[in-house]
């Protein structure tokens, strides 16, 4: 005879119900996972083989005509529009090709896939970053930042902070971490050694934007709450303000080039400034799409800025010096380039607020708008209101 607690358990647990939208998506995904039916006789097998041969021949012709076999999304004619296949999201995010690790952080949660097999699925973290080679991760939570081994899950250090970490960036050499902490008196920026020692306060009153390290790990750029871009020399401990140029109202993203001293700065109005912080080269002023910007360098002199529903590529000194635009099927809320710059991961928010992170081919440089080629869906985040910070190692 069940007692009162057991009856309440039966009633309460019995009333849990999934959402209708999730059910439909899962149904389509599950049916898509069904294996193909088994052949029963040789005759159908021969027919299937013949059909495959025909498809192969015509497919080859089609691929030759279109320049590749990748599904196309966005821009172009509607016949090229293909929705990416349903993701297997339960293991977390899908690892992009060639990546050692890939992470997405949004709304205090983080998703991670690593080639070592480590997976995180919506784990609680207010800031997240990966070290070079994804050996270590930096995990920010209220009141502390922790360095955690990605493969062995061992804890490198745990460091107390006076607030909530909101952004973290590991230096390319792995020796330092720049991180931003939200406190009652505003956001503060710190620079700590990769082993958890020597925690230096760098600046008060900074914007909650991920700092960007220079390739040599000797300096990083950040944005102040008042909209000034500053460069901190981590060796000398000095900080310099970059002069305003190109009429940027309030920079929202900064990113150093993979080599040299070029720094790309973008604001929400679509203005882009590319300044040489080391050799006093010419400053490039560009104008792209309005919207919250994300920046990714794909080559030492080619930078991509994603904002609104387009990504704009700027080629600074190459044969095709100029800019081109690629339309994307959604509002860009995050962007990162693969290590070789040939692939991108783009977080796209749709009209109902669902965010899809897709792996895409870095657009071929062209003066005409070109459709985005999507390889696959990496992750779906059902509810994410803010920007999605993507890390590709």
């Amino acid at each position: 005879m069940p007692d009162e607690l057991e009856e309440r358990l039966e009633r309460t647990l019995g009333e849990l119900e999934p959402g209708a939208d999730v059910t439909e998506r899962a149904r389509a995904s599950a049916l898509g996972a069904l294996p193909p039916p088994r052949a029963r006789s040789r005759k159908p097998l021969v027919l299937v083989a013949a059909a495959c041969a025909v498809a192969f021949v015509f497919g080859g012709v089609t691929l030759a005509a279109t320049g590749g076999g990748l599904p196309l999304v966005g821009g172009g004619s509607p016949k090229h529009h293909t929705r990416p296949t349903q993701p297997r999201t339960a293991g977390g995010v899908v690892l992009p090709r060639g990546a050692v690790a890939f992470a997405a952080a949004a709304d205090g949660r983080v998703w991670l896939a690593a080639s070592s097999g480590t997976r995180l699925h919506g784990a609680h973290a207010t800031a997240y970053g990966l070290s070079p080679g994804a050996v270590w991760s930096i995990v920010g939570r209220q009141g502390r930042i922790d360095a955690v081994g990605v493969q062995q899950h061992d804890r490198g250090f745990s460091h107390h902070v006076a607030g909530r970490p909101v952004a973290a960036s590991w230096a390319p050499a792995g020796i330092r971490i720049a991180y931003v902490v939200r406190t009652r008196r505003g956001n503060r920026l710190f620079d700590i050694y990769g082993n958890g020692t020597h925690d230096f306060p760098v600046a008060r009153g900074v914007a909650p934007v991920t700092p960007s390290w220079r390739w040599d790990s000797q300096a990083f750029a950040f944005i102040t709450a008042r909209g000034r871009v500053m460069v901190h020399n981590a060796i000398a401990g000095s900080t310099a303000t970059l002069p305003r140029a190109c009429g940027l109202h309030h920079p929202a993203a900064v990113a150093y080039a993979p080599f040299g001293g070029l720094l790309a700065i973008a604001d929400a109005a679509g203005r882009v400034e590319i300044v040489d912080t080391m050799h006093r080269g010419p400053t490039h002023c560009e104008r792209g799409q309005p919207g919250s910007p994300s920046i990714a360098w794909v080559r030492p002199r080619q930078v991509i800025v994603g904002s609104g529903e387009a990504i704009t590529r700027y080629d600074l000194y190459g044969r095709f010096a100029g800019a081109d635009v690629t339309n994307v099927p959604g509002t860009i809320v995050g962007l990162v380039a693969g290590m070789d710059g040939r692939r991108l991961a783009i977080a796209l928010r749709d009209a109902v607020g669902e965010v899809r992170v897709v792996e895409a081919h870095t657009p071929r440089f062209s003066s005409a708008a070109y459709p985005l080629r999507v390889y696959r869906l990496l992750l779906t985040i059902h509810r994410a209101s803010g920007a999605v910070a993507l890390t590709w190692q």
Partner: protein, 177 residues
Amino acid sequence: MRTLGDGELVARARQGSREAAAELFTRHWPGAWKVARAVTGRRDMADDVTQDAFERAFAALGRFDRRRPFGPWLHRIVVNRSLDLLRSERRLIGSDALERVEGEWRDRAGEDRELLAAVTGLSPQRRVVIVLRYGLGYSPAAIADLLDLPVGTVHSRLARALEDLRRSERERDAGRA
């Protein structure tokens, strides 16, 4: 289609019948999701765990032993996937289940929310047997079969879990008084 048993539906789905597979999905999705939701304590994780479990189950229909019931096989996948994800998250980030429960059960009435929060506060092993017993109505013997445990272990985990829940209720009532 409704009158067919799970075994027959599995056989048809193996032969390529999407209707049979869809019927299997319709029958078992709510229960499987319920298990994932209660074990993980999180709606978003339950959505993905259950979707993943169905994908795995359907992809492996060819290896499924039709003499055995489909539901427990699926629920076993769901339980294992849920525990795997919780375990990996705890290893890497640290356990903060109780911290999250407050936000995750906001869609429930007050008393239900407190009970669900208490269930989520149980250890994973005890949580699983509670959910299977009271959420899906499995007998202790069926739970033992599903989880590969001795029946006595299931009984003891159930008893200890219920005692934990009663204790948390007493503490809560005392706190209010």
